[in-house]
Subunit: 473 residues, 2 copies
């Protein structure tokens, strides 16, 4: 019976370093980038220079949509936006997408999707580039309009609108606009593979959004900042590429995380680097890349997770020399196999040529049935077959658990499964809430402390508080 | 405002005849195919011979899964199937898909989908061929199993099962089987873009189907026959290719229809041929290709539609010399933009390099809301962008209506829209039911007679019959 064998996913061959990705090429490219004369000479010889010899962005060139600081462009754009008759106010998730688009995470997209891009994302999880080739793009990046706005804009035959923040301050201009229908039912069904009520992103950003979508080309006035003490972690794809080149990386492996980081993750990262070194890479660098946009209410907030990440580096659980910690500004869809493609594709644009895919990536419980929304294996299967991701090397996640025999996190060994303890997010939460300690070596002490403090800071749930009052009375 | 311009679909350039598709190449290829010596000589010169110079099937070779008549293969297969311990009984729609697969309409698929193909169809509307290239495949072609069957097959570690008809007679063997979960909710949401109850295909073939799917390689014992007096119209892709080559076609344009044919359709067909001749093709042949599989209860049945098609040719509304009428054996999904890709892709395998796409192809009313299920323009937009259909020339449907000024069907002219009368399917039905005549020239007399007889043969709806009794009483 072929069931088991056929279930096995055919992962692309792990690429060995080749010219253009290997160390010597990387070094040459850095020299070329920094030494203008040599770059010109290299170009004259027909040598293609890429910063750090990193993987090319989708579409061949990183899209950057923020007006340059020099030359008065920002002031001019601000004046233009202020004078435009139509203003579309951005909600929290809209602003996160604007941020994503402005820095080229979604290259080659140059703005909120027009209808052809929207339809391609929904039906094919990929859009066609200018040269006809397919670029992966699995989630719609769209901006909604209500009917009154739509009518006003169409009545005036405007071709541009200003995008403004919650205080009505212009943040961008959207040009060559196109307005088209926002069929929410179809968008949700095709993106999530369900129409069940209770999908977090849907409730946050779709249910109450307008019935029209507006697409166009973006020009953003200045870099998006959140002023939450974490902006220094919000490195753009261009900044990350520069950093990888500076570190002389000849392979970049990305890890997406939206949950508290523990030593199992660290073990996986360290082991991945070891495997890449064995393959012949000289300096594989980890992009440890927690998601920073919208997450559901019961996920641990970004500020807490970032403090934890700081501890992981401070306490030497991960080597700071081969690790770049940064924030991925995208909001979370919790759309499983559809969304994991977006998570991977965006990291290509930041220079990653290896992507570590977990069990049930971007998954969650079904909102109305007692089961996981997605088959835990579908994420990595879909990712390994996705159009436009052929260049990316997919690394399957090796499951780590607490090894009670060796008192540390270890890769799960099915031959002695009784030795292993799986500590779920729920378990971790309940331990932290009750101020119990996890087993030694599960998480670095600083990281655990951050988590306990977070749970302490939460108001106790209503039920238990009433219980305490009852007990006290 | 760019809305209107951006709405315009970018249709692929209409291909002009080129070597390999043009008449001389076609003639040469036919000679080569029929004259073994010349074919060998041509092959020696590196000339690639294809029957009639027609468009290549997906995957480069037409898949044919019916055992050859010669050499005792059918008897051996029948014995093998009879001896297999596990039998899966095919329902009506399963048999239609078996038919579709067996003749290579879904080339390069070689059987019911395994999970990797199923996931690719759902997420990408395309599957990767052996060489890594993408082939369009937008609807899942799958076979369901219930839990008891799944357990029995898995317990025995069988690698093949027999597929049997309603009378338990073996029709095929499925080899190298793979069993995987049938997540109906996800399948429906991703295929139809809705989870609304009342989708005809879902109610017919999914709701009551098992929770597992079984994929594998098919070997079919003998050609599928229905013995309904229409089998002579059920030409396989290979037979159609042979017919097009025999007619010396240098372009084949396909038209999919599931509704009664009227003179507006005929006008469109005739006009398309004229345009293809103007482009330089010498002998464009029409594949008039009504869908013959499952349709919803209120659609006009195949037998009636085929009688109508016969009349259209008999009465010279279409030229029999440049028209091939045949039945497309697929069941109907009514899945709009998703399904139209299947309709187009299957016709490539039958040799068509032009496909006429209508308004709202494969569309229907929303089952629970008062609106069309799909945006009427999305079908042709999605079709024009679909991965794997780049080789197909998409011809947009020109809308015809009854021109009251010239008393015939004519292409709609918006400059004198008051002259045009649109006769919907519902209107046609109500006219035929009430034995009223449509306007002169709307439909050929024989075709109209067939339709009137069909409606006469239907039992009157309960309401009206009660009304008649009430009136009579």
């Amino acid at each position: 019976m072929a069931t088991q064998a056929a279930f096995a996913v055919r992962f692309p061959q792990l690429a060995r370093p080749s010219r253009g990705q290997g160390q010597p090429a990387a070094a040459a490219a850095r020299v070329a980038v920094r030494g203008g004369g040599r770059a010109a000479a290299a170009a004259a010889r027909g040598v293609r220079c890429r910063a750090g010899g990193l993987i090319e962005p989708d579409g061949g060139r990183l899209v950057e949509l923020v007006a340059p600081e020099e030359g008065g462009r920002r002031a001019a754009l601000r004046r233009e936006a202020a004078a435009l008759p139509h203003r579309v106010r951005l909600g929290r998730v809209d602003t996160e997408w604007l941020h994503v688009l402005s820095e080229g995470w979604a290259s080659p997209l140059r703005g909120f999707m027009r209808e052809t891009e929207f339809l391609q994302a929904l039906h094919f999880n990929a859009v066609r580039g200018a040269d006809g080739s397919l670029v992966n793009m699995s989630v719609p990046i769209v901006l909604a309009l209500d009917d009154a706005q739509r009518r006003a804009i169409q009545a005036s035959a405007a071709t541009s609108v200003a995008l403004v923040d919650a205080h009505d301050r212009p943040v961008a201009v959207l040009r060559d606009i196109e307005i088209y229908k926002h069929n929410k039912e179809e968008r949700i069904a095709r993106t999530w593979g369900t129409a069940a009520r209770g999908l977090p992103y849907v409730e946050e950003a779709i249910t109450n959004a307008g019935d029209w979508l507006i697409g166009g080309d973006l020009e953003v006035i200045e870099p998006i900042k959140y002023n939450d003490g974490l902006d220094q972690y919000r490195l753009s794809p261009a900044q990350l590429r520069e950093e990888f080149a500076r570190r002389n990386a000849d392979a970049v492996f990305a890890f997406q995380l939206r949950n508290p980081v523990h030593n199992g993750h660290a073990l996986l990262m360290t082991d991945t680097r070891r495997r890449l070194l064995e393959m012949g890479y000289k300096n594989p660098v980890l992009l440890l890349h927690p998601l920073g946009g919208f997450t559901k209410a019961d996920d641990v907030p970004l500020s807490v997770r970032m403090k934890q990440h700081e501890k992981v580096l401070e306490e030497g659980v991960l080597n700071p020399e081969s690790t770049v910690v940064a924030i991925f500004p995208s909001p979370m869809h919790y759309a499983g196999p559809t969304e994991v493609q977006w998570h991977a594709k965006a990291r290509i644009n930041a220079g990653a040529n290896f992507y570590i895919v977990g069990r049930d990536p971007a998954g969650m419980g079904h909102p109305t049935e007692k089961r996981d929304l997605y088959d835990a294996d579908h994420g990595k299967k879909v990712l390994s077959m996705a159009p436009g991701l052929e260049r990316l090397n997919i690394l399957p996640f090796k499951v780590a658990a607490y090894d009670t025999k060796h008192n540390k996190m270890n890769f799960f060994d099915p031959s002695r499964k009784e030795d292993f303890l799986f500590i779920s997010g729920t378990k971790m939460r309940s331990l932290a809430k009750n101020r119990e300690s996890p087993p030694d070596g599960f998480m670095c002490p600083g990281g655990w402390k951050v988590l306990v403090e977070y749970y302490d800071s939460l108001a106790p749930p209503e039920g238990s508080s009433k219980l305490r009052e009852a007990v006290a009375a």
